[in-house]
Structures are given as C-alpha cells and as structure tokens.
Symmetry: C2
Subunit: 81 residues, 2 copies
Amino acid sequence: MSIKVKIYVTLKEGVLDPQGRAVVGALGALDFKGVEDLRIGKFMELKVDTESKEAAEQEARRMCEELLANPVIEDFRVEVE
Amino acid sequence: MSIKVKIYVTLKEGVLDPQGRAVVGALGALDFKGVEDLRIGKFMELKVDTESKEAAEQEARRMCEELLANPVIEDFRVEVE
C-alpha cells in the first residue's frame, strides 16, 4: 500500500536561524514592515510502501532520526494521510 | 495584532527535484527501501503585525509573490492561525 507522508523539520527553539533573519531583512527592504519573527524549516512529501498507516508513520520517524533531521538542533513532525 | 502565519513553498509538479532524488538514494543506502517519491519544499513560520487575519493572509501572499517563492517553478500555500 502506498501511503502519503508529510514531514516537517524545524529548528528547535533557541537555535539561531540566520536564513530567517536574512529573509526578514529582505522583506523589510521590500517594505513589508510588520514581520516580527520568521523561521525557515523543511517540508517533505513522500510516498512510503508499507502495509499500514502506522507502519508508514514509524518508518518516517526512523528516517527523520537517521537522516532527515539533525536531532541536535532540529525537531520534526510526521503527518500520515 | 500579532498573527501567526505558516507558509509552505513546494516545487510545481513536473519540476525535477534533484535534492529529493538524492535523499531517496541516501534513504535506500540506509535500507529504507519503500520510499517511492520524495519532494522537498520550504516551510516558514512567521508573525505578522496586522489588524486582522485576512490582512495577515494577504500580506503573506504578497510576500510569497515578491520574495519567498519563485512563481516560475514553485507553488505556495498560506495558513493563518
């Protein structure tokens, strides 16, 4: 069964996000003045071939732990459809 | 009013995603064999200071059109909380 999974990888709170800072600066230069805080993460959509949704979610979590996220500085969230 | 906005920027369908391909290869090397298709996008969380949710959404859409997404190859989605 092919199951669609969405993975969100975000920087942990307290970890500096220089890319987000740069984007806030660029938005300011384009006259978007009301942006207070912007943090950038990764969003992954994938299809996993497993027997059940539960298995797909477990598989995706293992992928995050082993490759897709850096547990020292990043959090991840898995959504199964 | 400080409104939390989430922005998802993804590659349009049909646009090659070499980063996603590389990740599928790396997952295969780690013995995750069931991954069929993986596409990587960006996920942004920001706070916008506007009078209403509608205004925040419009502002975020304009940011995507002008800076955050490349409309030639990317789609974006805005969620207001």
